[in-house]
């Protein structure tokens, strides 16, 4: 297989990972932004953060998810946005692992309100580990050809 074909395959893989990660994070932030009070309660239920940091986390996290999601879908600052998602996914993995270790029976609060979320289970760890890997891949590799980053780079090279 030629180097050009391999590059195309990489571009398609990275674009796919970027789209999945962007959709997941944008989807995840919606209910948190719409109902910060419920999300703050969800954060508190994990019993990890001190009370003084619970609300700040509940206010800021969804907007970071939204920013990372939008940047990923646009392909702008792709590697930095992917790095941010890696940080968030690592944080989610630690929180879920701690809740599982403490045998807390709670909803993960990832994509919906506490009443209708996903039950805490090790499957959530696998999902977040997969998203962490996708983010790490995007942060490590040069952005694919379908990103604004690549378009700006090509434009700069031709200028």
């Amino acid at each position: 297989m030629s180097g050009r074909a391999i590059q195309w395959i990489w571009d398609i893989v990275l674009a796919g990972a970027r789209a999945v990660l962007a959709i997941v994070f944008i989807w995840a932030c919606v209910h948190k932004i719409l109902d910060p009070g419920s999300f703050a309660l969800q954060v508190a239920t994990y019993q990890i953060l001190p009370l003084s940091l619970v609300n700040l986390q509940a206010i800021v996290l969804p907007w970071v998810e939204l920013a990372a999601g939008i940047l990923l879908i646009l392909g702008l600052w792709t590697r930095a946005a992917a790095l941010v998602t890696c940080g968030m996914n690592a944080m989610f993995i630690v929180a879920i692992a701690m809740a599982l270790a403490a045998e807390l029976q709670l909803q993960c609060g990832c994509f919906s309100s506490a009443e209708a979320g996903h039950e805490m289970s090790s499957a959530l760890l696998v999902r977040d580990a997969a998203l962490l890997l996708a983010g790490a891949l995007l942060a490590w590799r040069r952005p694919d050809r379908f990103t604004l980053d690549s378009w700006l780079e090509r434009r700069k090279a031709h200028a």
Partner: protein, 185 residues
Amino acid sequence: MGEEEEKLRVALRIALQALIILLVAAGVAIASNAARSDGIPLVADVEYDIFAPCADSDAESQAATAKDLGAGGAAILYVDARPAEAFGAERAKGAVNAPYSVLFGAAPEAIQAVKAEAVARNVKEIVVYGDLAEPGSDGGTVDVANPLAEQLVESGLPGVKHIAGGLPALKKSGVDVVQGTGGAR
């Protein structure tokens, strides 16, 4: 520029961009929270009312009737789940008190005290009794022997039983009862 230097420069640029994403998102988040009518305080001023129960334990205390107790002459430690005042007024002879709150359960210190007493007396059977007056009901009671017994089982104590009917049931079956203020036992 060397390859290593270029890699470092790219890594620093990515880290700086990530920091900018975090800071801008945090700024927008805090501003929008301040602007909206249903915004929440940046720092919570009261504890959240968390309800996150732990998984049910497989261990369960055994229900018993007053007649079953002390089968084979086994030494019994009676545990009174009622508040200290009721315990001080009247209790099974030799009982220890571990007041059980419907909301908060029994205090860890009380559970430890029961464990220490069970070890000190080398008992094989622990019998929990106690009903609480049900608020707002005319003479109704809430059985707290069962939940306290389960708490004791979960703390690792073997041979825990609970009986329904509280102290009156024990008295009826002939268990010795002592009265008056006088702490435990």
